[in-house]
């Protein structure tokens, strides 16, 4: 009984202070797989990018390591600045699914954010790599669910 109480007391702060975050990976058929993780520090976005680059067993991820260069919040928008060197060589499918994984994860975990803007190497660009248009903002309404019908 005492031991159980001790374990409970040790775990209590972890339960109280840790926040749960949901990450979106992909299975072998590229269907979304959500995984919940806990994190208790402030820099949650860096943590989420790092975790997305380390898919859990049985999943894949198109988010490369060291992708996030910087980020800042402007009212209800989040601006994320990505590093182009780690995006070299990704194909059409990887570029789209990278965007879906990132935005789905961001909008799921930061409910107060309405839109996301993407810059590359600190500058506004037309395309993320070769295909995805990053000139305009990405709205929460589209990525608050998986943006591919039949794969939700």
């Amino acid at each position: 009984m005492r031991r159980q109480l001790l374990i409970f007391l040790v775990l209590l702060p972890v339960v109280i202070f840790c926040r749960n975050y949901v990450l979106f990976y992909l299975d072998q058929k590229l269907l979304p797989v959500s995984v919940t993780v806990s994190y208790d520090k402030d820099d949650a976005l860096n943590f989420l990018f790092d975790k997305l680059a380390e898919p859990v067993p049985g999943t894949v991820s198109f988010v490369p390591r060291n992708l996030l260069r910087a980020y800042f919040f402007v009212e209800k928008a989040l601006v994320i600045d990505l590093r182009s060197t780690v995006l070299v060589g990704i194909d059409f499918q990887q570029e789209r699914y990278l965007i879906h994984q990132l935005l789905r994860t961001v909008f799921e975990n930061f409910k107060a954010i309405d839109s996301v803007y993407i810059t590359v190497d600190g500058k506004r660009k037309d395309k993320l790599v070769n295909y995805v248009d990053v000139r305009y903002g990405f709205p929460k309404q589209i990525w608050s669910s998986w943006p591919i019908e039949g794969e939700r």
Binding site: R96, V132, D133, I142, I148, E149, G150
Partner: protein, 307 residues
Amino acid sequence: MKRLLLFLLIIVSVKSFSFDLYVGKKLIYSSADLENIMSWSSFVSFMENYARMMGMDNLSTGEIGDFHYLVWRGHTVGYAMNSNVFVVDGVTTRSKAVPVDNILSVFQLPFLRRESEIVLADMIINKIIKTDDIIDIVYDGANELVFVQKQNQIEVVSNSFVAVNGYIYKPGELVLVIQTDKKIDQKIEMPGLTRVVLIKETFLNDKVVTLKFGEVSQIPEDGILIFYSDGDDRIIIRPYSPDFEGSDWPVYAQNKRIAQQIATRFGLKLELCPLYSLPVGRIAMVLLLSDDTKIQKIEEYLKELLR
């Protein structure tokens, strides 16, 4: 017989001298008091709940000795219990309780008076903005409007007690008629805003242009653009963006509807992704097909759809 008569008299008198306060169709407060009066505490509690229900600014309350007051929307209402003095924006009257209808008027809250009942609106429309393709209705409270599509017009009907410019429309009453040859494509709900996107049923451009994805240097100016390539049977269309503040919604809605019809007919997945090759503000899609021969069938189907 005498007993029955007495009973009926009691019922009638209670009914006659009761006071009921409704918000829309919901009874919020009822008492056997004469006239439309409430105790100060009931009144404050009601006002707090109403402001919360309607999503309006919070009111502030306080007390100085025996004097209790409430400040809301630039007006101050106060009540000194022992002396039965009632103060509205500095003007003093003697009253044992809160005269509800007077105070609602001070706060400019629209209401209906029906015998022993006061009915407050559960939707207060603040602004109606109509552009070619969008009707925006900005309101406080709950959305209690029903949009009825008729030939060459859209009727907006009240589903509860809806206030517009101080007038309250009862359930089933016609609030607004919008003359248009367009149809309702979708209704988008946001807190305090209903946005109705209109669409013209006949497509302005029925020309279909098919192009090989990734091999096009110049895009034709007219026609619905269909890019195609090898792939895993999916259609990709451009979603809308917050940068266009809703002006790209009609094209998005039309684009999505066409893409959904093609997807259903040919067993394709529909993906929303802003590809750079898909021009903004134009019906355009990328088809990734496992079978190249499908593109001709899709083109024929699309032409049939647009006819």
